[in-house]
């Protein structure tokens, strides 16, 4: 493998949109490239699905995603070498400040239940916008519906109050704002959009809203074209105190709060799904 | 009553003057011939009349009302029709082309069909109705174009060289058609032609154009009595001689040019042009007693067989004369290059112009 440009080694990184759109990766890239002047880090952002597809084809060397279930499948298939959680934050359940379903203060699954209830009563007043794109956020949303005891495929998906946007987080927030509807968003994207929309984060800290980002280098045995060496260097960098410091401080200046929480060498935080059964893979973690 | 009047019309393209101070009055039912050298502005004049071109200045008056290519002239345009010099056709069949004028006037289908076939037949084009109009030969295109305009029965028909691509037989047919239109339908026609004989044969009036109008009048006048050198040259008046005219006895004029004296029955004085039509000159081997006042001796320097006539060029010293004679007389007289002969012509056959 030789993807050298200007004599530089190329490290291609596929990432979910939230990491790129918030601008976090831009800072990480700058610092990483400063540390390894011989490596050209190239970031490709897209949905979780296409990022994994890139990884399988050997088009990228490492992926940064936030969908534990699929991450573990990838490891199981031997395509990824290891999950390396490097940051987390929370998903927010957001909605109009008038909160027509009255979910403020509830935990996530209660809130979803309430939204369903009120939505059935008056689909004009209470709507929920889903990304519906099999992204990490969408996966999490589905899990919460399940946790709320609802049959996603039959009760939720075809309900008149449930709208699938089939789009990225930013666009989905825009649609929710236009329609004055509820949705679930990763905190980073929401904070970045906060000024542009009138929606409010109604639920922010429920344990089942935990959102863990991890880095998975591609397995050089399965994907022979990959630049595993540089990928491992990036993992190393992300987990290093230097990398963790960037993550911890990112966004403080612009949004007045950090968008991501660094792990700082600590263990991966586990979602505390208290009131429901979690999936097999979730338990295994 | 004039159908069409043109007053002080000028047309320029950029700084190039094409038409200058054109004045023309065309009576209803008249056939006006427009004749002039290539590029003299004939097509431009027809296009101006047909409202396809905007005059630089001047007026075009149709039935007493000034018309212009601006809006609101549809009813006038629908009373005129033009056959263009360059072959032009809409995509589609000959039928489609000929039916066009009727279609846009909203006639019903049956009427259109009758009318189209009637006119195609008139022009011997009925077998071509379903042929692609673009594949017609030169002459066929011209006939189609005529049919296309005739179906609309225009009051004013503008024909730009309508027979230039036709063989003699087809040409004759179109000519009788034109005469018929004029007679039976009282159609007013303005046509250009390069065929001077056709112009003479078909026109009630002829205008000789070359940027300006140089002469306008009955064909016999224009062709036999050109008003100026340009017209004389152009209509192919032969035996044009420049001389000084002086009064002679008995109301005759004597014109002197080099070693030649010519008598004319017309009155004139001073510098003048003389012309004698080649067929008005008789030839004989000997000077004969005759009532012809003019008798000049000359030598045959050129003999051309034109098919219909024999053209002789006879050198009379300071002038070269052209004489036409039938093949029969030519053979009977046993004329040959070098023959010295006497030319005779009457004083009434001598035309004078400036």
């Amino acid at each position: 493998y030789s993807g050298a440009m200007d004599g530089k080694e190329v490290l291609v990184v596929a990432t979910t949109t939230s990491l790129e759109d918030t601008g976090l990766l831009e800072e990480i890239e700058a610092a990483f490239e400063a540390k390894y002047p011989n490596i050209d880090m190239q970031v490709i952002s897209g949905g979780t699905g296409i990022a994994i597809e890139y990884g399988k084809n050997g088009d990228v060397d490492i992926i940064l995603v936030h969908d534990k279930t699929r991450e573990e499948e990838l490891i199981e298939d031997g395509i990824g070498t290891k999950r390396n959680p490097f940051a987390y934050n929370y998903f927010y359940i957001v909605g109009p400040s008038s909160d027509p379903a009255g979910i403020k203060g509830m935990d996530a699954s209660e809130a979803f239940e309430k939204i369903q209830e009120e939505g059935e009563k008056d689909p004009e007043a209470v709507e929920f916008i889903s990304r519906g794109d099999d992204s990490g956020t969408h996966s999490r949303e589905k899990k919460i519906w399940k946790a709320a005891g609802l049959d996603y495929n039959n009760t939720v998906q075809n309900a008149p109050w449930y709208v699938e946007s089939g789009k990225g987080m930013g666009d989905t927030l825009t649609i929710a704002d236009e329609k004055q509807a509820y949705t679930i968003s990763d905190s980073g994207t929401f904070l970045a959009f906060k000024d542009k929309i009138s929606l409010e984060a109604l639920i922010t800290e429920s344990p089942d809203l935990l959102n863990v980002y991890s880095a998975i280098p591609m397995n050089p045995d399965k994907v022979p074209t990959t630049n595993n060496d540089a990928a491992n260097k990036l993992v190393e960098f992300l987990l290093s105190s230097e990398g963790q410091k960037i993550i911890a401080e990112f966004g403080v200046e612009e949004y007045g709060q950090n968008l991501f929480t660094a792990l700082n060498g600590g263990p991966e935080p586990t979602a505390l799904f208290s009131s429901f059964l979690v999936g097999q893979s979730e338990l295994a973690a | 009553m004039y159908l069409l009047e043109i007053e002080n019309l000028n047309k320029k393209y950029g700084s190039k003057t094409i038409l200058e101070d054109i004045n023309l009055k065309v009576k209803t039912g008249i056939n006006m011939g427009l004749i002039g050298p290539t590029g003299c502005g004939k097509t431009t004049l027809l296009r101006l009349i047909d409202l396809l071109e905007t005059p630089s200045s001047g007026k075009i008056i149709f039935e007493g009302h000034e018309i212009s290519p601006k809006k609101g002239n549809l009813h006038i345009r629908r009373r005129m029709g033009m056959v263009f010099q360059k072959p032009l056709a809409f995509k589609g069949t000959v039928y489609d082309n000929v039916a066009y004028g009727l279609n846009i006037r909203g006639y019903d289908k049956e009427y259109i069909q009758n009318k189209v076939y009637q006119n195609l037949e008139l022009l011997g084009m009925e077998d071509y109705a379903h042929q692609n109009a673009g594949s017609l030969s030169g002459g066929e295109s011209q006939r189609m174009a005529l049919a296309r305009v005739l179906v609309t029965e225009p009051d004013l028909l503008l024909l730009d060289e309508p027979t230039s691509n036709l063989d003699p037989l087809s040409r004759e047919k179109i000519e009788s058609l034109i005469l018929h239109l004029k007679k039976e339908k009282d159609t007013t026609i303005i046509m250009t032609t390069h065929d001077l004989i056709q112009g003479q044969r078909l026109s009630d009036e002829i205008a000789i154009l070359n940027q300006k109008i140089f002469q306008i009048g009955k064909p016999e006048d224009v062709f036999r009595k050109p008003k100026n050198q340009f017209v004389a040259d152009f209509v192919g008046v032969k035996n044009v001689i420049k001389g000084q005219a002086k009064k002679d006895q008995e109301g005759l004029t004597i014109i002197k040019s080099g070693n030649i004296d010519i008598y004319s029955s017309k009155q004139a004085e001073g510098d003048i042009f003389v012309s004698i039509r080649p067929e008005d000159i008789s030839l004989s081997w000997d000077k004969v007693k005759t009532s012809s006042l003019n008798e000049l001796k000359g030598k045959v320097v050129e003999i051309i067989d034109d098919g219909a006539l024999i053209h002789l060029k006879i050198d009379a010293g300071s002038e070269l004369f052209t004489v036409y004679m039938t093949r029969k007389s030519f053979l009977d007289m046993k004329i040959n290059i070098g023959s010295e002969l006497w030319m005779e012509f009457k004083a009434t056959a001598v035309h004078l112009f400036q």
């Binding site: 296409i50 089939g166 666009d171 | 549809l74």
Partner: protein
Amino acid sequence: MLSPVIDGIYQAINLIITLDPEMVEITLRTLYISLSSTLVATLIGVPLGGLIHFKAFKGKRGLINMIQTLYSVPTVLVGLFVFLLLSRSGIFGGFNLLFTPTGMVIGQSVLILPLLVGFTINSLSGVQKNIEDLALSLGASDFQTIYTIMKEARYALIGAIILGFGRAISEVGVALLIGGNIRGFTRVITTTISLETSKGNIALSIALGIILLVIALIINLILNYIQEK
């Protein structure tokens, strides 16, 4: 590794044969929206192009340059612009057209209008000036003359309409921003392709693309048939 293509072809055939109901719904919506916007843009663009072609006025060359420049307008930009107009807080917010098929028709019409105007002008320029004279001389009104010239240029005009339709049916920027890709309501083939691609379902995306092309082929055959008549 072109297997997703083969897989895609297989899936496309399967979706067509089984008349997958969601697929049928999306296809019909796609057709409705792109045909409507093509129609709207044609009805506005062709006469407008005709007007520009036939009128002589100052700045005509410049106007045509502007129109041609709009061939380069990214669909997202049109999407954004129309979005701002139709948005709740926009000028036409009151009509509630955002995230509706009607809104998409408006957006796509705006998108393809420059193409139709520009290529109408191009098509008409291909007709000899003489044909105009011929029509006028045979007594055609201004309107009839324009109609005649358009008929002469119909091969190229149909080409322009096919182009406009192609742009409408294939674009995704307007469809996403104005339509919102809402399942069961504004989701069309291209937005579905985008979605499936972001999900990594490449074969399905290709299958959808193939279906879109089949539809386009049928529409083109119909338009060409009209032209040849």
